[in-house]
Symmetry: C2
DNA sequence: GGTGCGACATAACATAGGTTATGGTGACGG
DNA sequence: CCGTCACCATAACCTATGTTATGTCGCACC
């Protein structure tokens, strides 16, 4: 049997005990393959699973009453999808696979067992949730207070940065398989304007584009355009582990 | 001694055992009062506490390089502030008290003890984190795909709705002590345009305004303007508790 | 009882980005 | 081999929202 998706993911952060591994293994279903453009869940459906990404890309989005769409987040290999909806009965977003992909489903209902059985895993899940929030916050800032140029550059850099850190085989971290329509819906712009902006960045030799996606040609120069600071993607795993070590339950009631 | 801030908050969701209460009590410091416009933490500082809100309003925001500001979230009595930054060493936002307020600090470093000692509390914290994310997601959609009118109406309704659910003494849930500048920075608009939009809504008898904030006059009609659906504010507490009951650790490795 | 300040109000003007439309190219299916 | 479809490209025109400026009101402070 191949190594579990989520174990690979978590090993990336910290050494898992055999018991922790066993626990995760017992819960995770084996990876499933999905074709490009498959919709895995939709608004209103009952929330029962989340997923880890083994290969490929996916995104969550929300359909608006007027027919427009807002992309909430884009997921790369190693990411956990849907932890966000842990506390809700029904899905508030749709999940779409944007390249052919392989995902591991994980039943939400048994998360409680994990929390109870392993304090390390509990804290790791909490950390992932905090990281998700940091990403949302940054996207919020992107939408609220940056120009189209900055939005595009910032978003592309974030994705490239997340790819760098993906635990799993990724060939070229500078190539992002994102269509212009998807970028538009992620950044709250029209696809026409995304095209204008990308063309500008292409003119300046910062990116190249084509069907199949966008490629970053000069990250440093994009960092300048965006004012990008990756700190929000860098969780303090060591700090958390240290905190776990010093937590001494015996001194509590 | 008065009842702990965070215990009041959590009792709102579920019955806490005496041990759980004891545990929370041992960690929480007593409430402190802060004057309007006090900044409690700033970008770059080391993350050591989070807070629960007993009275008053607060918000987190980020300062941009060009001098503009993005408000990330606004907090009302009963809210937990700063859980988001659990996984990070340094703060990525500023915390500002926007009315005179009373908050209870809670040391981040001892969260691990809570997680370990009480599975109910662990799950409640996780639920709160998920709710925070739902709020962020909705704000994201607001910024990305709604007009100024919709943004304003939606945001006002969200805050009123959150006030309704605040566990603590709130006199008038239709009155929000938010300045136009703050609304602007929360919604990614200019304060001039906020004023235009509010004036419009006032003309239509939907809100009234003045120094001291905005008052909602006709929520139903605002719901129509915004296309507001409060589902994202309604966590499935019962579902979570049920899940806790059925979790049976003995069947695990 | 000025005077400074923070919040709101309004108007004239400027522009980033939206909308609509049209065409091109390459992949894929029959 | 030819249609169809998804994606990208570009242009002309439009509008929601930003910017700058100026004024008013109330209120805290010396």
């Amino acid at each position: 049997m191949t190594t579990s998706c989520i174990i690979r993911h978590f090993q990336h952060y910290a050494e898992l005990s055999p018991e922790d591994q066993e626990l995760l293994n017992s819960l995770e279903k084996s990876p499933r393959d999905y074709a490009r453009n498959t919709v895995l869940w939709q608004q209103g459906e009952v929330t029962d699973h989340f997923y880890t990404v083994r290969h490929g890309w996916a995104c969550t989005y929300r359909n608006m009453a007027d027919g427009s769409r807002q992309v909430l987040d884009v997921y790369v290999p190693g990411d956990v999808i849907g932890l966000r909806e842990f506390a809700f009965r029904r899905r508030v977003s749709n999940l779409l696979v944007i390249t052919d992909a392989s995902l591991c489903p994980f039943p939400k209902s048994r998360l409680a067992e994990v929390f109870e059985s392993s304090k390390l895993l509990c804290n790791l899940f909490f950390m992932i949730s905090a990281r998700d929030q940091a990403i949302l916050v940054e996207r919020l800032i992107n939408l609220g207070r940056r120009t189209a140029r900055e939005k595009v550059a910032h978003f592309l850099l974030e994705m490239a940065h997340r790819l760098d850190k993906a635990c799993i085989d990724v060939h070229d971290c500078n190539h992002l398989p994102l269509t212009q329509v998807l970028l538009a819906d992620a950044l709250g712009l029209s696809s026409v304007h995304i095209n204008r902006t990308l063309s500008e960045l292409k003119q300046e030799q910062r990116v190249s584009m084509g069907p199949g996606g966008v490629t970053l040609l000069d990250r440093d120069s994009l960092v300048e355009v965006a004012g990008f600071d990756p700190e929000y993607l860098e969780e303090d795993v060591d700090g958390m582990l240290r905190m776990l070590d010093t937590a001494d339950p015996t001194q509590l009631a």
